[in-house]
């Protein structure tokens, strides 16, 4: 068991998972924030753009996005992100994970905005705050606190979904496990070690986000 893991790059595979998750989380947060702004804007066309993105991406399997990025966009349309095949797959995996989870980040942020009762905005205007003041002092802080729990869920889902990158040959944790289980006998403990690796990655985050969302919950 220990000897099997010593022959494969166990730590390296999980490091790749962490890298994938980190950069995709950043990307998803950026795209998702822009989408959330679009979806709550007062302009119908911009709202339509945001809604269309969310509905299209949310209903497409991540596997399809992943596979079509490499086989379609990179190979056939020639949209190479890097000349090295491995780096190209890695970068496309980050792009697709970001694009996919951005839809969920957007929904998380929007649900945060939706938790604010109208009275908050009315009260802010009634005491004479300008639009910018009421936005930054009253509304956004509450919206952010209301969206911590769903954002945490999205982050954890993203870490687990980074395994999908293995279908395009990025040798992160799930890909390495598939290789080991196929080549070696006695795969059961190997599976549990990898499963434990994901539990270690996600469980503390889950606990952290739960306690944050409880601690920062807006009393109403």
């Amino acid at each position: 068991m220990g000897e099997i893991l010593a022959r494969y790059d166990f730590v390296g595979a999980f490091w790749l998972t962490i890298q994938l998750s980190f950069w995709s989380a950043l990307g998803a947060l950026m795209i998702g924030t822009v989408l959330a702004v679009l979806r709550v804007s007062p302009v119908p066309v911009l709202r339509l753009l945001g809604t269309a993105y969310v509905n299209l991406i949310r209903n497409t399997p991540l596997t399809l996005l992943m596979v079509s990025s490499i086989l379609g966009l990179s190979l056939i349309l020639g949209l190479r992100l890097s000349n090295d095949v491995k780096t190209d797959a890695f970068l496309w995996a980050i792009v697709m994970l970001s694009v996919y989870h951005a839809a969920f980040v957007c929904e998380a942020l929007r649900s945060g905005v939706n938790t604010i009762p109208a009275g908050q905005a009315e009260a802010a205007r009634a005491i004479g705050l300008t639009f910018n003041q009421s936005l930054t002092e009253v509304l956004l802080p509450q919206a952010f606190r209301g969206s911590i729990a769903p954002l945490g869920s999205t982050l954890i889902a993203l870490i687990k979904n980074s395994t999908v990158a293995s279908v395009i040959g990025v040798s992160e944790a799930a890909g390495l496990m598939a290789t080991i289980v196929e080549n070696e006998t006695g795969g059961v403990p190997v599976f549990f070690v990898f499963a434990l690796g994901f539990v270690v990655l996600t469980l503390p985050l889950g606990v952290l986000f739960t306690s944050l969302s409880r601690r920062l919950a807006v009393k109403r």
């Binding site: 979806r39 007062p42 302009v43 119908p44 066309v45 911009l46 339509l48 753009l49 509905n55 949310r58 209903n59 497409t60 399997p61 991540l62 596997t63 399809l64 596979v67 079509s68 086989l71 379609g72 056939i76 349309l77 949209l79 996919y100 998380a108 905005v113 939706n114 009762p117 109208a118 908050q120 205007r125 639009f131 936005l135 729990a149 945490g152 869920s153 999205t154 954890i156 889902a157 687990k160 979904n161 293995s166 279908v167 944790a173 799930a174 496990m177 598939a178 289980v181 795969g187 599976f191 990898f194 499963a195 994901f198 996600t202 469980l203 985050l205 889950g206 986000f209 739960t210 969302s213």
Partner: protein, 309 residues
């Protein structure tokens, strides 16, 4: 409360002008994106009629896309039924009066929610094919079903648990006070109400199952994505094949989401339950619920009071 009403005042003349400008900018943006996509596709020759006409022939559908849809839907249907049974058993287990049953069920549920579905799928596939557990032809299907059942069953178990917790306290108190045991109260009073109220969330989970069945691509399960890849090689139209597959997935899942919404609306009109439990983000792949993570926010009793007469 819709976001627009909270964030923005009724627009005055200046704001209306700004909105009109933004409308034009937004429309130009949409057109620009469409143009870029079409130009890129056209440049690579992907818009040629020859790439798209195969989808007008019967054989592309009967030989590739329909078997693909059948593969996807059958894996999803089997998994959803099994996951429902798994979820019910472990959900009830998590509500048991004996402490050790609660702990064991809790560990199982939290474990399978934390492990990526694809990891379980790879593992189950290797184990099944090495030990010849099933016929070689159905090994991939069985691996897909196993992984989807364990993950979604755990999510459903959590739904059952929080569904029961979300019921008004008076329900269990009334049961206990007329002399039912805790088990009887759970089975004949709390669960029936919780299950009805969970229906929209359960249907939302079906979208997750349909999307996750595409992971079967990684273990050569012949579902819609795998079949579209084959179709793409057969007609030399990979990109159009993926676009058609995506459209089919989107239509399928969008219809499911709409159906779940309609069921929720119907439940809201029923005065007898405590209101539907709404799953705010029903279709995140593998992610509606995480280990030790927040799930209660996913299903909370509806805030709009059900109409009473």
């Amino acid at each position: 409360m819709s976001a627009q009403n909270v964030l923005f005042d009724a627009p005055g003349p200046k704001a209306r002008l700004r909105h009109n400008i933004l409308t034009v900018v937004g429309a130009l943006l949409i057109l620009g994106i469409l143009y870029l996509v079409l130009a890129k596709l056209g440049q690579a020759g992907q818009l040629d009629a020859a790439k798209w006409t195969p989808f007008l022939t019967a054989s592309a559908w009967t030989a590739y896309l329909i078997p693909g849809l059948i593969g996807t839907l059958s894996a999803a249907a089997i998994s959803v039924v099994l996951a429902g049974i798994f979820g019910l058993i472990f959900g009830i287990g998590r509500l048991a009066t004996q402490r050790w049953i609660r702990i064991v069920c809790g560990i199982v549920v939290e474990f399978f929610r934390a492990v990526p579905v694809l990891l379980m799928m790879y593992f189950a596939f290797t184990i099944y094919s090495r030990n010849g557990v099933f016929l070689a032809t159905i090994n991939p299907l069985m691996a897909v079903v196993t992984a989807l059942t364990l993950y979604n069953g755990s999510v459903i178990a959590e739904l059952v648990r929080s569904g029961v917790h979300a019921l008004p306290k008076g329900q269990s108190e009334a049961g206990l006070s007329v002399g039912l045991t805790p088990q009887q109260t759970l089975l004949s009073i709390q669960l029936p109400q919780a299950l009805v109220a969970m229906l929209p969330a359960l249907m939302g989970q079906l979208v997750v199952v349909i999307k996750d069945s595409a992971l079967g691509y990684g273990i050569t399960y012949m579902e819609l994505l795998t079949w579209s890849k084959t179709l793409g090689s057969a007609y030399a139209n990979t990109v159009p094949a993926y676009i058609v597959a995506a459209v089919l997935f989107i239509l399928l899942n969008y219809a499911m989401t709409k159906l779940a919404g309609a069921v929720e609306q119907r439940l809201r009109k029923r005065p007898i339950t405590a209101g539907p439990l709404t799953n705010t983000m029903p279709n995140i792949v593998q992610g509606s619920a995480e280990p030790g993570g927040p799930i209660d926010y996913l299903i909370e009793p509806s805030h709009d009071a059900p109409p009473r007469d």
